[in-house]
């Protein structure tokens, strides 16, 4: 553990704490407006809000997969302070290559890192079982990422199949990409069983269950009608 962590000697705030004041029972402004809503509000025109324009990507990850190793490079922009957390996944080892400095704190389930915002991150993820790498943990900023729906872009190279991946990856040439609004805790590339992913198997089970239940119900209805006729 590194001395001086956490900064200021207090626990890191929940990323949504800043919003909390406005949304719970103790949040006066929202409640004030809400309680008087139908008694005090005056209809004002033109308040319907449209969708905000998409800002450039604030977080970019590039993951190069090669058998049991993945090399990851992360770039963060437009974020004032970089307090990052990474989930510690079982069965994988993370070796931080860059930056060498920064505050670092390792817990049983979380790796915390505090670095200047302009600094890129490079690290290597290795599958401890020696098999193909299936899950690659990412460093997640403690605050929501600016940039709207395209704020985060993750590019993965070196994989052949993107079916069932988390987050959803779209293949573009040799690379697969995901464009999303938030950084996920990890990228998962699931193995195929009988040419299907686990997600496909779940979907298949649900479709069979729905068809079976509908068939059974229709059969029951028909039997009931026959009984009534007799």
């Amino acid at each position: 553990m590194i001395a001086g962590w956490p900064p200021g000697g207090t626990l890191p705030q929940s990323p949504l704490d800043s919003e909390r004041a406005g949304i719970t029972d103790t949040g006066a402004p929202a409640r004030f407006r809400l309680a008087g809503l139908f008694l005090l509000a005056v209809l004002l025109p033109g308040l319907a809000r449209g969708q905000e324009g998409a800002a450039p990507s604030a977080v970019r990850y590039h993951i190069r997969v090669s058998e049991d190793v993945a090399n990851v490079e992360g770039h963060f922009s437009g974020i004032a302070r970089l307090d990052l957390t990474q989930i510690r996944l079982s069965g994988v080892q993370v070796e931080l290559l860059e930056p060498e400095g920064g505050l670092r704190r390792e817990q049983e389930n979380i790796l915390r890192l505090s670095i200047p915002s302009s600094t890129p991150i490079r690290y290597r993820v290795r599958d401890l079982g020696g098999g193909a790498i299936r899950r690659v943990p990412l460093f997640v900023p403690a605050r929501p990422v600016p940039g709207g729906p395209a704020g985060v872009r993750i590019t993965v190279t070196g994989i052949s199949d993107v079916r069932g991946a988390f987050p959803k990856l779209i293949r573009r040439g040799d690379a697969a990409t995901a464009t999303l609004a938030n950084v996920p805790s990890f990228v998962m590339i699931p193995p195929l069983r009988f040419g299907m992913t686990d997600k496909d198997l779940f979907d298949l089970a649900v479709v069979l269950l729905v068809c079976g239940a509908t068939g059974a119900w229709l059969r029951g209805q028909r039997a009931g009608r026959r009984e009534a006729e007799d």
Binding site: S14, G22, T24, D25, R31, N109, A142, F166, F202
Partner: protein, 486 residues
Amino acid sequence: MGATFAVVLTVYVAVIMGISVWSYFRTETEVDFLAAGRSIGPLVGGAVLAATQISAGTFVGSAGRHYLAGISWWIPWLGLWSGWLVSAFFVAPKLRRQDALTVPDYISHRFGSDLAGALAGVLIVVSYSIYLVAQFQAGGEIAEVVFGIRPITAMLLIVASTSLYTLLGGVRSSSYIEFLQTLIMVGALVVSVPVLLIHVAGFDFLEGFKKTFGYLSELDPRLTGWYYKPQELIAFAASFGLSIAAAPYELTRFYSMRDEKTVRKAIFISIGLQLVISACILCIGLMTRVLFPSLPSQDQATAIMAFQILPPVIGALLLVAMLSAIMSTVNSVLLVTGAGVAHDLYGKFLNRKASQKHLVAVNRVAIVVLAVVPVYFALLKLGDVQGIVIEQAKFIASFFFVPVVIGLNWKRGNAPGAIAAMLGGFVACLVWELTWQEGFSRHGIDAVEVGVATSLVLFVVVSRLTKPPAAKGLETFFGPNRTGGG
């Protein structure tokens, strides 16, 4: 997901429209429209109560609060179920003895005052319009996250589709559609949990739970401990429990059931379904936090999970279930508020000679108007979805709990007492919200507690100081049970 969602949604819409059209041809009188001809059984009734209860507040709001606050948000459910039990034992059986159509009907009949009934109608319209704001806002959040469309477009689509099936078949179509919605909701939620666990730690589900708990407790210890103070949780639980014990949109559904026994069975079936749903919602909120720790709004948690994490068919089913939950609640609320305007105000005060067909037509017009107004407020985003639901619950509890629950169980309560209780409770809750609620962290007294206490004191004191109620209104609720329903 796009094509899969389109297929699932098309099948779903085709089925509900089929049910609506089928119901339309069986709806001729106001009793058909507002009470499904009093034909609903316990299983469908229980599913309907659950579907009405499980709204956007649950799918979007509660899951979001679990995402934000962790495990402790589950405690308000206990308050909610306590409210259901109060309803099952002290409200539903007596209320169902009266062949009423709306809750203001009960108020008018029990206290022998049309004025009290009309006041109840007005307060219902005001409070439930706030509830609709939460539903529309949730619809907008889902649409923005999943489909990338503007919230206003999504809200208007929800208004149009829900109004259509409410207009067509009234409570009959709603009941069968909500039965279907409950099946989809419970099925999709139950399947979502193992999928999330696989993401967290593979097929070792126990390890998945351990990992989730360990990760969250290190991310923020309050997520697995006490995020809210005890007095906050008590206030949340009180808001939900006191409001559900006397919630007009749930009570109205009792009138559509066969008899008292059916109502009580339906309530227990509903609590069972809610238990399953609450456990799944808890898991979804927590595990989505593991997978996406820094969402900008907790209200996005479920939609992001359905879109990014779940397999296409299950994700589409869950999205349909979420939209269904919103639609079923909007539908129930519209039926109640529409009836408040048409049946309780128009039919009783403005046009007493209106025919059955005319009343149904007025009801339908009121539904459309009352559906559109809350869209405006939803666009203002006055708080998170769960926060808006809580505010509405506080008001309902403050003006309805006492006249309904105490009124059904205390003979001496009379019309002046009921009017004072409703008005006093509403005003006390509103004034506290606008003034002293800000100091909640200091004094720990919530507006719902002030509202209900004021309402109770006024009900008892004013009733005691004025003439006892006429025996005519009391006989139905305090005389021998003649409906044979148990």
